[in-house]
């Protein structure tokens, strides 16, 4: 699953160099971590644990795609975990109440529901002019509260979910779980979209320099809204896939994963200050975090250490980004205009 770093076709000098080095260093880190753990516990690399690893990383990696778009614009979306929770239960309820409903319809409804919840964020942020942090902190609790009120102690069990749907999370194609294939396809789509298309470049422009973006004629409000709607729709898809992966869903599903997603994205080189980073890097960030937590499990580190490590990694990534940006600012004058 090593990602070849993209060759720089266009001459974006330092930006590509920086991003490429982050992607290469992530791949190296993942390799070193895997090697070390394998030495300490040879059972670490076997088909089953590799499959588990891919399944574990898939949903986080999917959410990372949406979060990348958001963080590129110097925004943040904390509400994704609650959207995943609601849409996961929604998907389950659809199966329970409508036996025989096609899986595709359920997935589409989940994506649509996520999209609508994302649109709530979008309206408040883009046109209500409320900072994304405040809005999504609020909706994180509002959506989760609504979810608790709706679920009301119930639970969707794997028995009520058709086997064909659960197969997304269990069966494999060419050795790779179908769930992971879905994420990989979307990764390619997002990567191309953000690199080659005007809308994608505008996300970078907004995060890089919001004032310049406005002066360049970019409709910033609309781009912001698009970003949060995309993030919501991705979270909706992740909700449906959450059900496929775990089978059992209650009101607490996906609680707290927004921290993992944000950490993965930032560790993957998407600067929290906006304008810098790629989805491939963010995906590798998610992979690194996932390998790291399996490492902790294999080394029998108590699971209580997990969260502290995650926080420390986020802080480290922010500090590294700031250091790189600082060094760049020292070494360059106005030779390169930002994207």
């Amino acid at each position: 699953m090593t990602m070849e770093p993209k060759s720089s076709l266009d001459g974006q000098g330092w930006l590509n160099a920086l991003v490429r080095s982050r992607e290469v260093s992530l791949v190296l880190l993942i390799a070193v971590l895997t090697a070390l753990t394998t030495v300490l516990n040879p059972r670490f690399v076997n088909p089953q644990s590799l499959k588990d690893l891919m399944l574990n990383v898939s949903i986080i990696a999917l959410l990372v795609l949406g979060q990348t778009v958001i963080i590129l614009m110097r925004q943040i979306d904390l509400s994704i975990s609650s959207i995943v929770g609601i849409t996961a239960f929604l998907s389950g309820t659809l199966f329970v109440n409508n036996p025989g409903i096609p899986s595709v319809v359920v997935v589409l409804i989940a994506v649509l529901a996520g999209l609508l919840l994302g649109a709530v964020n979008a309206v408040l942020i883009a046109w209500g002019k409320i900072p994304a942090l405040i809005t999504t902190l609020g909706t994180l609790y509002i959506f989760r509260g609504a979810n608790y009120a709706w679920v009301h102690g119930r639970q969707v069990n794997a028995v009520n979910v058709p086997g064909s749907f659960l197969a997304i999370g269990t069966s494999t194609l060419a050795g790779i779980p179908i769930l992971t294939w879905i994420v990989l396809i979307l990764l390619v789509v997002f990567s191309i979209g953000l690199r080659q298309y005007r809308a994608g470049r505008e996300f970078y422009a907004i995060g890089s320099n919001p004032t310049a973006a406005v002066l360049a004629g970019i409709n910033v409000s609309r781009r912001l809204a698009t970003g949060f709607v995309i993030s919501g729709a991705i979270a909706g898809l992740a909700g449906a896939l959450w059900l496929a992966r775990f089978g059992t869903v209650d009101a607490t599903a996906a609680e707290g994963i927004e921290l993992t997603v944000i950490t993965s994205t930032v560790v993957g080189g998407v600067a929290i200050t906006g304008g810098v980073g790629t989805v491939v890097g963010a995906f590798l960030g998610a992979l690194l975090l996932s390998v790291f937590s399996s490492t902790l499990v294999f080394l029998r580190v108590p699971s209580f250490w997990q969260q502290a490590f995650q926080g420390a990694m986020l802080l480290l990534a922010i500090a590294v980004d700031a250091y790189l940006a600082h060094r760049h600012a020292l070494h360059s004058r106005v030779r390169w205009s930002r994207v």
Partner: protein, 343 residues
């Protein structure tokens, strides 16, 4: 708070925001009294005031931090860490006063880490404190795992749940009143307070007028750590329970109170009085809903909505005012145009 615009309109809008809050408070009290006959009892008020002490404590330094244009999302995690640490130290039979001091020092260290990363490395406080939100909660889990410590000595538990004799005022609430007074004096009647507004209003201007921005911000984050740790100690005694997940999500209520209290999200504006009124308002709303047997999940929805509305409403008012002014100006121009045509 800049001197550039001494117009009375700004003063008027300030007064009106707090007046609005005071009115809302009155409405909430009246509504509570009408809806439930238990609302105005001393027992209920003791309960009401006790229930928001921790959040109120954390909101005080947070208010100053937001005025300087920064934010601290890690407060609830520092509360959890302090609570876990107190439990662990008590389990190791350490004398309680010493344990309390250690927790406060730990809080100061956590705050200092936040401050150090934000001030020294110029990192955005939002990102740093999301990181330390996870880090400090992680430390809490490392400290106590999934255990719970509950056998605290009765005299301390009594401090947590007791009231001042012959009143309905809970003992921990006194802590809040004292600290609120200190913060009020600090913000509104000292040069430090003026400097904080200056930083939030225009950081560059503040630096050129000789304000030591780094030191002030550092002190604020340390204060936030110490007071969050204090809130953790109060929480532990109030529930006689020390757990790693204590206070999870409290940052939402604290932040909601700060913004509802009229502190501008861009910094530079707001008062301690406004925040105290907002805290009381949130406390009363939660209490009324709890008395009405509304489930706790609805309380989350209400707090989240209050947070969003507290910023949406002023924004809408400001943009409407701006639009009206534009329309008026266009009319004046049209009138002038018509007049010149007539000539």
């Amino acid at each position: 708070m800049s001197e550039s615009q001494p117009s009375t309109r700004r003063l008027a809008s300030r007064v009106s925001w707090e007046t609005i809050l005071a009115l809302l408070l009155l409405i909430a009290v009246a509504g509570g009294a009408l809806l439930n006959k238990d609302f105005l009892t001393a027992d209920n008020w003791a309960n009401l005031l006790a229930n928001f002490v921790e959040i109120a404590l954390m909101a005080l330094p947070l208010c100053l931090i937001v005025i300087t244009g920064e934010i601290d999302l890690s407060v609830a995690s520092m509360l959890g860490l302090s609570s876990s640490l107190l439990g662990l130290l008590w389990e190791y039979k350490l004398a309680m006063p010493l344990g309390i001091v250690i927790c406060l020092v730990a809080g100061a260290l956590c705050g200092a880490l936040n401050g150090f990363l934000i001030v020294r490395f110029r990192l955005p406080s939002l990102a740093v404190t999301i990181g330390t939100l996870a880090l400090f909660r992680g430390f809490a889990y490392i400290t106590l795992g999934d255990k719970a410590v509950a056998d605290f000595p009765p005299e301390y538990a009594e401090f947590g749940i007791g009231v001042i004799p012959y009143t309905f005022i809970p003992m921990p609430f006194v802590l809040f009143v004292v600290l609120a007074l200190i913060f009020w004096v600090l913000l509104h009647h000292t040069t430090v307070g003026r400097s904080l507004y200056a930083i939030g209003g225009n950081q560059t201007a503040a630096r050129f007028s000789g304000v030591n921005i780094s030191r002030l911000k550092m002190l604020l984050f340390v204060a936030s750590g110490v007071i969050s740790a204090l809130a953790g100690i109060v929480f532990t005694f109030r529930f006689s329970s020390s757990r790693a997940d204590n206070g999870t999500g409290f940052e939402l209520s604290a932040i909601a109170a700060v913004f509802l209290g009229g502190i501008l999200v861009q910094g530079g504006k707001g008062t301690v009085t406004g925040v105290v009124l907002a805290l009381l308002l949130i406390g009363i709303i939660n209490n009324v809903l709890t008395l009405a047997d509304v489930a706790s999940e609805i309380l989350r929805i209400v707090t989240g909505s209050l947070l969003i509305i507290s910023i949406l409403l002023p924004n809408l008012i400001a943009s409407t005012r701006e639009r009206l002014r534009l329309i008026q100006r266009q009319r004046e121009i049209a009138k002038l145009g018509a007049a010149s045509v007539a000539k």
